[in-house]
């Protein structure tokens, strides 16, 4: 296996959790809800995903546990922000704090344990094709699923009536309500979907990326996923591009550290975080003149009249 091939494969692996979580958050934000709890949902997905796989030996069960954990946590968020009209920023922060605490509690018993990592696809001839074979036909299920998910979200948003309604709710909840659309119910579904995606993104880490669980192993990926949604201008295609770009930054700094260029390793480790800040600045500045492209009711509390 050539170096470039290896790098591409590792970039894809590093990007996949970001892509999964960010894709879910994109749908949530398109419905007008800002859920800043991605980091908390991801780490819960990681802990519960590991637990599920540890007890059953099945990656699939682990993934489902991760999804369930993320969705369950997002349900708490929904109860607060949709049910009780709580400020979404504050509730999102609370969700992150709770998720980190709970995952520590759940995962404490699993630290140091190992599981078999997610199996990779193997197709007799195709996987053997030089260079592209392993990239296209030798990934694990998470990778294929994440790509399919982004395509499906694009199709949903722009090709289905339900997607149109979701975008409408995010643009003006008062108009959507006046036309009789159940704004809160639609948002609830979006938030649950986003929670499930974040949970799956988190579960990817212990199930496929490293075959063990460490407390805090998401290491800010949830926040980077949130930044990716801003970067993408809420467009699924750009989201995927952004996620792979960030994956590349992460891998590049790992390789640079391995080469030991005399640069302090801490600086290299800080690179993805610094890159996030820089990208946010650049994208916001570029957008400054064109105005915001965020969904118009993003983060605004809605309480219907009855």
């Amino acid at each position: 296996m050539g170096l470039l091939e290896a790098i591409i494969i590792s970039v894809i692996a590093a990007s996949t959790p970001l892509l999964l979580a960010a894709a879910g958050e994109l749908v949530v934000e398109r419905s007008g809800v800002l859920n800043l709890g991605t980091e908390g949902m991801m780490i819960m997905g990681a802990a519960c995903g590991f637990a599920g796989a540890y007890f059953t030996g099945s990656t699939l069960v682990g993934a489902l546990c991760g999804i369930a954990a993320g969705a369950a946590l997002s349900l708490v968020f929904a109860a607060l922000t949709l049910g009780l009209a709580v400020n979404q920023v504050a509730a999102g922060l609370a969700l992150t704090i709770l998720g980190i605490g709970l995952s520590g509690l759940i995962g404490a018993g699993f630290v140091g344990e190992k599981i078999t990592p997610a199996p990779h696809l193997y197709l007799p001839v195709l996987t053997g094709i030089p260079f592209i074979g392993k990239i296209l036909f030798g990934q694990d299920g998470f990778v294929y699923f994440s790509v399919a998910l982004v395509v499906a979200i694009w199709w949903f948003l722009y090709r289905t009536r339900a997607g149109l309604i979701l975008r409408a709710v995010g643009d003006s909840h008062t108009s959507a309500h006046a036309l009789g659309y159940p704004v809160l119910k639609i948002r609830l579904l979006a938030v649950l979907f986003g929670g499930g995606c974040a949970g799956l993104g988190g579960a990817f880490l212990p199930l496929a990326y490293t075959p063990f669980f460490i407390p805090g192993m998401t290491a800010g990926r949830g926040w980077i996923a949130l930044a990716l949604v801003v970067f993408s201008s809420w467009l699924p295609g750009r989201l995927a591009a952004g996620a792979y770009l960030f994956g590349a930054v992460t891998i590049l700094q790992l390789h640079a550290q391995a080469f030991g260029l005399g640069i302090p390793s801490q600086l290299m480790t800080a690179l993805p975080y610094l890159a996030t800040v820089i990208v946010l600045v650049l994208i916001s500045r570029a957008r400054g003149s064109a105005g915001s492209v965020a969904p118009a009711s993003l983060g605004v509390v809605f309480v219907p009249d009855r």
Partner: protein, 528 residues
């Protein structure tokens, strides 16, 4: 869409009957046991002051809110609406007072969202083109809504309603945002709908319109039904009496209103909008003398908001001399500095712009008073002083409230507006700039406010009033200019400005065209 023969309405069964509709909001009674019968082939007016409960009543009829008591009957059968889609399924359509549109979606998408989605998007688009052609309501299906004028936006709402082929069409204050000419076009469509045998419920508080258009009128006041009558048999005065419940005093200018030197000068003001959906201001020049009220008419969204923020200093002008207040070039000065020069401002939006809704009135007095009213000493707030301002405003302008210092949001629209206008007028500003002074305000409060503006100008201040309400401008302004697409027409004396002339300018005609247009219309009227 064949016309139903129109016979004597009372001989026929009503299409929709409302029986004892009651709606509570907490302890507040917005609708109090209202009965209403609507007939096919009839335009029924629902008249009432702001806050009378008109919108609340029709929201019940559209299934948007659940009445606390009472029932609806549709062609004699009990009607249970769990939501607007139930109403649409029956054949009830609605054009909302505050549009129910999605700014960042296209016209076609907006229409699709208002239908219940049985046909394909393609079929819907084709039908949209046909209906809009059929009724003479042109629309570009691929444009995003934020690019459209207010009149075009309303067209979307109407076309969307018509595409449901409704038996009953409810229109909530549709002409509030239109030029007189656009309103006339709308009336043509409404007459056609009536002749097609549809029932129309037309909400307004413009009496002349109702007398022209409607067969029956129901008058609401304070949530109660006052009467149902034939508006053509009533005079405007008798309708107004029913709406308001008392005679409204005429507002009067103080006798001697000598105009003095110009106190507010706007010189060739051009300004780029700060949000992408905004309007460019283009070369605006006008002066307002002491003792004069200058009115600026125009349909909403033609740059009035941008002009207001450029005058108030919320946005700075490109040049220092674009705005001159009492001889001081103020184009680059902040809101606070302009207030210190003796200017005062009343924005259109009461809650969130003119006041912080969840803050107390005393804090809202501080909001504009901190600059020039000695409410702050060395950075510390003089609380008794802010309360005293509240008390004085309350007394002078008859602000009704439940306690001495409530939150702004708890006041009714009229009382809050009296507070906001009063707060500024008590400072005796040399220049007052006010936007939509009586928008959504009851007639009593509107009279108090207009009188206060006249009195202020009588004391020698320059007053600039931005308003969509031509009647209001006719009542108080000395000169009137019209805003269209960021341009301001040359002002004309209020005495010379007819509704037609202003209406044409509001629709974008040049002054010369406006004059010619008026002549043409007059000849048409004679011909017809």
């Amino acid at each position: 869409m064949n016309a139903v023969p129109v016979s004597n309405p009372s001989a026929r069964a009503p299409l929709l009957q409302a029986i004892g509709i009651t709606k509570h909001y907490g302890t507040f009674l917005a609708n109090d046991s209202i009965d209403l019968d609507l007939f096919a082939g009839e335009i029924h007016a629902l008249l009432g002051e702001n806050g009378a409960g008109k919108s609340t009543l029709v929201k019940s009829m559209y299934g948007l809110i659940q009445p606390s008591a009472g029932e609806l009957r549709w062609m004699g059968e009990k009607l249970e609406l769990t939501g607007p889609s139930d109403a649409r399924a029956k054949g009830i359509a609605m054009v909302f007072q505050h549009f129910s549109l999605f700014d960042n979606l296209t016209v076609a998408e907006n229409v699709a969202l208002g239908l219940d989605g049985v046909e394909s998007f393609g079929a819907m688009s084709a039908r949209l083109a046909q209906v809009s052609r059929d009724y003479g309501l042109p629309l570009d299906p691929n444009r995003e809504v934020w690019r459209l004028s207010v009149g075009e936006r309303q067209r979307i709402e109407i076309v969307r309603a018509l595409m449901q082929n409704p038996k009953l069409l409810i229109l909530d204050e549709p002409t509030a945002v239109l030029t007189p000419q656009e309103a006339d076009q709308l009336f043509t469509v409404l007459f056609r709908l009536k002749s097609e045998g549809r029932a129309l419920l037309y909400i307004s508080h413009k009496l002349d319109e109702v007398k022209r258009l409607c067969d029956t009128a129901t008058i609401l006041r304070g949530g109660k039904k006052i009467s149902t009558c034939d508006p053509r048999q009533e005079t405007a005065a008798s309708l107004a009496r029913m709406m308001v419940g008392a005679e409204i005093g005429e507002v009067k200018a103080t006798s001697a209103r000598a105009t003095t030197v110009p106190r507010l000068l706007i010189n060739d003001l051009s300004l780029e909008p700060d949000d992408p959906h905004g309007v460019y201001l283009k070369g605006i020049s006008v002066e307002v003398k002491g003792g004069e009220i200058l009115g600026i008419a125009g349909v909403a969204g033609n740059g009035q908001d941008e002009l207001f923020s450029a005058l108030s200093g919320e946005r700075l002008a490109p040049r220092e001399d674009n705005v001159i207040i009492d001889g001081h070039a103020a184009g680059h000065r902040s809101v606070t500095d302009r207030r210190k020069l003796g200017a005062a401002f009343v924005p259109e939006e009461r809650l969130g712009h003119g006041t912080a809704p969840r803050m107390k009135l005393s804090e809202n007095a501080l909001l504009t008073g901190h600059a020039a009213s000695h409410m702050v000493h060395r950075g510390f707030v003089d609380k008794p002083k802010t309360l005293e301002t509240v008390d004085r405003t309350t007394k002078t302008f008859d602000v009704r409230k439940a306690k001495r210092d409530p939150e702004a949001v708890s006041l009714s629209g009229g009382n809050l507006q009296k507070f906001i206008v009063g707060r500024e007028i008590l400072r005796e500003p040399g220049v007052l700039i006010v936007s939509q002074p009586t928008w959504g305000v009851d007639a009593g409060a509107a009279a108090v406010i207009r009188q206060a503006l006249l009195d202020l100008s009588g004391r020698g201040s320059a007053v600039l009033v931005i308003s969509q309400d031509l009647d209001e401008l006719a009542e108080i302004a000395d000169r009137i200019a019209v805003m269209f697409h960021g341009h301001l027409s040359a002002p004309m004396a209020a005495a010379d400005s007819t509704r037609e002339k202003l209406g044409l300018l509001m629709g974008g005609a040049s002054p010369a065209e406006a004059l010619a247009g008026v002549a043409k219309e007059a000849s048409h009227a004679v011909g017809a």
